[in-house]
């Protein structure tokens, strides 16, 4: 276990010294919620969401989770591209421990990035129970791991062309966010154009966002069935992390990012 901790710390210390990116995420959250969110909520007039700023704050946390998760996945590809992966593979530790260290580092990174924004969001919404807060945090972690695994799963493209991988993952990220219920309830996606809601049901963020909204007390009538959301998120996290583990065990030996 000491090896795993050492590896996690080796990767994480670069981001903490100084913690520019963490501070930047917190600042972005502040500006987005207290300027953009506050102003845009003056324009939103729907009975299901009396205060859009709160709805947006939750959505923005889900977007941040997605960003951190996809960053962790992309880092794996960068490690292959920059020659760090062969070094890590040559270390005297098992592949499963290496995978555990990557997953743990992603989890810690997520916790560090979200700590302050999550606390601000909770205080903005107020009137919450410990169970609902814990459930929301657990959903975010599950989503984060799922997204990281998804990006890791796509890394086989990077072994052909890293440029193409970047184009696909970054382009896909924007679409996954827009075609989801992060910023608006599913019913409004359906009203905007027939088919938008169908596409949104393929986005993992739809399930993550709706579940977190549900735990934090938003109107359940505008959200997806929580049982389905839990099933989808669990399946995503387990399957994509399993795929990531398979990649690390079998495919990455000797490969170079194109």
């Amino acid at each position: 276990m000491l090896d795993v901790v050492r590896l996690v710390w080796f990767d994480l210390k670069h981001e903490l010294n100084p913690p520019v990116w963490i501070g930047l995420q917190w600042l972005t959250f502040g500006v987005q919620i207290f300027i953009y969110g506050a102003l845009i909520s003056q324009l939103v007039k729907i009975p299901q969401i009396p205060n859009y700023q709160e709805f947006y704050a939750v959505g923005f946390i889900v977007m941040m989770t997605f960003d951190v998760g996809s960053h962790s996945g992309r880092e794996f590809v960068e490690a292959a591209h920059e020659g760090r992966l062969p070094y890590l593979l040559s270390l005297p530790i098992s592949r499963s421990k290496l995978f555990l260290s990557i997953a743990l580092k992603g989890g810690l990174e997520l916790a560090l990035m979200l700590m302050v924004p999550f606390a601000i969001m909770l205080s903005l919404i107020g009137n919450l129970t410990i169970v609902s807060v814990a459930a929301a945090a657990a959903t975010l972690f599950c989503l984060g791991f799922g997204v990281a695994g998804l990006m890791l799963g796509l890394s086989f493209i990077a072994f052909k062309s890293s440029d193409l991988y970047s184009a696909i993952t970054t382009g896909l990220s924007a679409l996954i966010i827009r075609f989801s219920t992060v910023l608006y309830p599913l019913v409004f996606l359906a009203r905007a154009s027939p088919g938008y809601d169908t596409v949104a049901k393929f986005s993992p963020l739809t399930y993550g966002a709706d579940l977190v909204h549900l735990f934090l007390g938003f109107d359940p009538s505008m959200l997806l069935n929580p049982t389905i959301a839990v099933a989808v998120l669990t399946a995503l996290a387990v399957s994509t992390l399993g795929l990531g583990m398979f990649l690390l065990q079998r495919l990455v030996e000797g490969v170079r990012s194109g």
Binding site: V20, Q32, Y36, A38, I40, I168
Partner: protein, 258 residues
Amino acid sequence: MTELVHILQLARNDFSYFFRTKWLMAILLSLHLSDMLVVALVYKNMMSIDYFQFFVPAVIVMGLFVAALDTGRRIWLAIREGVIQYYLSLPISTEGIVVAYLLAGGLAAMVYSTSLLLIALVVLPAAAVGNTLILLPFLFFLAMGLAGISATLAAMASTHGEYFFAYQQVVQILLLTLSTVYYPMNIVKNYFPAFLTSIVSANPLSLAAEAMRQYTFLGYPVQPFFLLNILLASLPFTIIGAVAYLVALRTIQTKGKM
């Protein structure tokens, strides 16, 4: 005359580099098209104003802004990877290199935002397309100003290269949220104190978005004073950017590094 030819050759080289970066094109297009065809359309049904009519013209200005900001990334890359030393060895003055970069940045932003404009004209009826032709030179000047901001950031970050993207993100968020790109001025006035409202109304992005809405899509007659305002708001950014980049180049010329 030879100097002018060299400036244009260097500008053409930088201009083509922008459009050859596949991942960048994927990000920009997926971001702006989904903003236009998903976010604006969904928000339209949730808001008290016709948000599609309001936001689509602003997406064109956002495209102009983000594409112009990429000039900084290209300058930063040139400094980091030593390509700048090659540029400095070319038979072209230092001032010529600065002009070439600003021209290329402005032109790339114009071409990219014109492609967004063409898509916008398909989805949103425009009352006076001819007015756009009057706006174009002013938007080009604005794009050069925005490229100037980006050049300043690249010059500032050249000693702490990895911070360039942090600076860029802060500037991007502040300039966009403190503008009328996302929300109308009356909402801003209701929420912000007077000094912040003045900043929002003087922001060149607010001016450009308003010009696009009023003159191209609503068809009001073009007000020369308003266009002059765009010029005056963009000029300081162009000058500061040009001077900052020039100082950076001179430092590299004399010391060999930043």
